[in-house]
Symmetry: C2
Amino acid sequence: MEQNQRIVLVERPEGMPDERHLRLESVPVPTPEDGQVLLKTIYLSLDPYMRGRMSAAKSYAKSVELGEVMEGGTVSQVVASRHPDWQEGDLVLSHSGWQTYALSNGRGLRRLDPSLAPISTALGVLGMPGFTAYVGLLEIGQPKAGETVVVSAASGAVGQVVGQIAKLKGCRVVGIAGADDKCAYVVDELGFDACVNYRDDDFPAKLKAACPDGIDVYFENVGGKVLNAVIDLLNDFSRMPVCGLIAHYNDTRLPAGPDQLPRLMRAVLTHRVLIRGFIQFDFAPRFPDFQRDMGDWIRSGQVKYREDIVEGLENAVTAFQGLLSGRNRGKLLVRVSPDPTR
Amino acid sequence: MEQNQRIVLVERPEGMPDERHLRLESVPVPTPEDGQVLLKTIYLSLDPYMRGRMSAAKSYAKSVELGEVMEGGTVSQVVASRHPDWQEGDLVLSHSGWQTYALSNGRGLRRLDPSLAPISTALGVLGMPGFTAYVGLLEIGQPKAGETVVVSAASGAVGQVVGQIAKLKGCRVVGIAGADDKCAYVVDELGFDACVNYRDDDFPAKLKAACPDGIDVYFENVGGKVLNAVIDLLNDFSRMPVCGLIAHYNDTRLPAGPDQLPRLMRAVLTHRVLIRGFIQFDFAPRFPDFQRDMGDWIRSGQVKYREDIVEGLENAVTAFQGLLSGRNRGKLLVRVSPDPTR
């Protein structure tokens, strides 16, 4: 009898999570009751926000409880239905978590049409990461033609979209990434104007050279040394959407000094900088606009995307470690079971 | 023959400025030419922003050059006029700087009517500091009835106005100040709901106790340990207008660690905080609204104010040191010559 493979949070990690914290288990595949569907996971999305869910610290969403399946967005297929709206074979966007099967009462499922776009994109460029880029850049960053937009984690699921939208808006776009091949990708394939590797010794000087007119929008995905270098380059009335701080997600204590906070605050004051944290769901009413615009941009080839697909749920923990370390190349997905549309 | 007493920046201070940096000089009183007026200073405003003008560091306004008179807002009287619009005896808001006499071509002068309000208020509650409070709180802070507004430097020229406007908007208002008598003043005289002395050992715990529902608006005037304590209390969607950072104006290097910046950024991200630096003149079009509203509030007694008036230009440097150290009580002014309206 087929089993449900699932990854359960069994201990809260301090620092990098591993198999001690995230345990692969086998349990029987559940049976849908009246009003339920059984979903089989095709793709599981791995995203940096998941690190926060593993911690007990208060945040914008509640933590995963110990003993619970790790949460996560999925593209799934209905394999059994006792729900009037759903039929066997339907492809859906779900939030089934890190497991091969899940029950759903249909709430929160979104039907996917594989003739419009590859179904995996519902977890990436046409899904949460793409929407994050869209609202963070356009609603908070408000880029104007001719301005300089800098995006960290530039080749990641969000960063790659931020940079391309900024190019569409007529901006000079400078990426920051942690590997030369990532930098080459965003410049050569995605059309960024420049990209700087933050692991280079003279990273601050290189960033400055890449931004001769300073920075008008800094799309913050990482924090740490990247933010420290950006502070000195912020222009008057610059904007900083704060989307993520991946450099700090595994921090177990504050970094040793000197204290950089007064330096940021001084820049905020003298340059009248706006800094604003956001979560994409705060902007949910903009989702239809996003779907329309991003659909157009993808179809016209104005926005490209790259996926990094790992095979098998058993490799999810290692892949997630890679995400936190910058080893992924593009939007990271786990192919949990074969994609019937490919 | 009467001399013009003036205080000239002769050396850029590192740390606290003193008489080595700011030298009192006597020079002949200048004579107006055609199109000019001679102004005699009645009140000189002393404001924290002046510390920035003494530094060579790039900021939103250019530094005072070595050998130049220190700049500053004044209430002055026309004592000789060769300008068609101005007559001897006219009272004006000027920017004559730290000196007893100044020439003006009339540009930037604003006529003051002593029957409407004491002329000194043009430098305080009805002038730049009041306008700073008004636009920072209302345009950026956007307080809503029932929210908690915290203001640092609560008894200062800006802070006292911020708190009173927030009370008018129906907020719970918590001040932060550096002396028990300042705290008593804003609670007993100005109607703040609470005030916490940041010099107390258990200041963070006291601030938390004074803000049982967290902080929705933090009006930042100081930085340093006050900001560090505020970070932990910021609510979802809270706003932080950044008006000043007086704790850092004399810093000659960054404070030793730990680095508090990641802690702020984490709060920004998880609570979707908005931080925005501003200078009052960015909002110049709102000045007529401010004059109307604040005039009404002063006349109706809904907004009160306190001035701390020091006698004589020769005491300006000591008074300015006191301002940076928190020794003033209310809006700090130097009475450079007798006020003819009192």
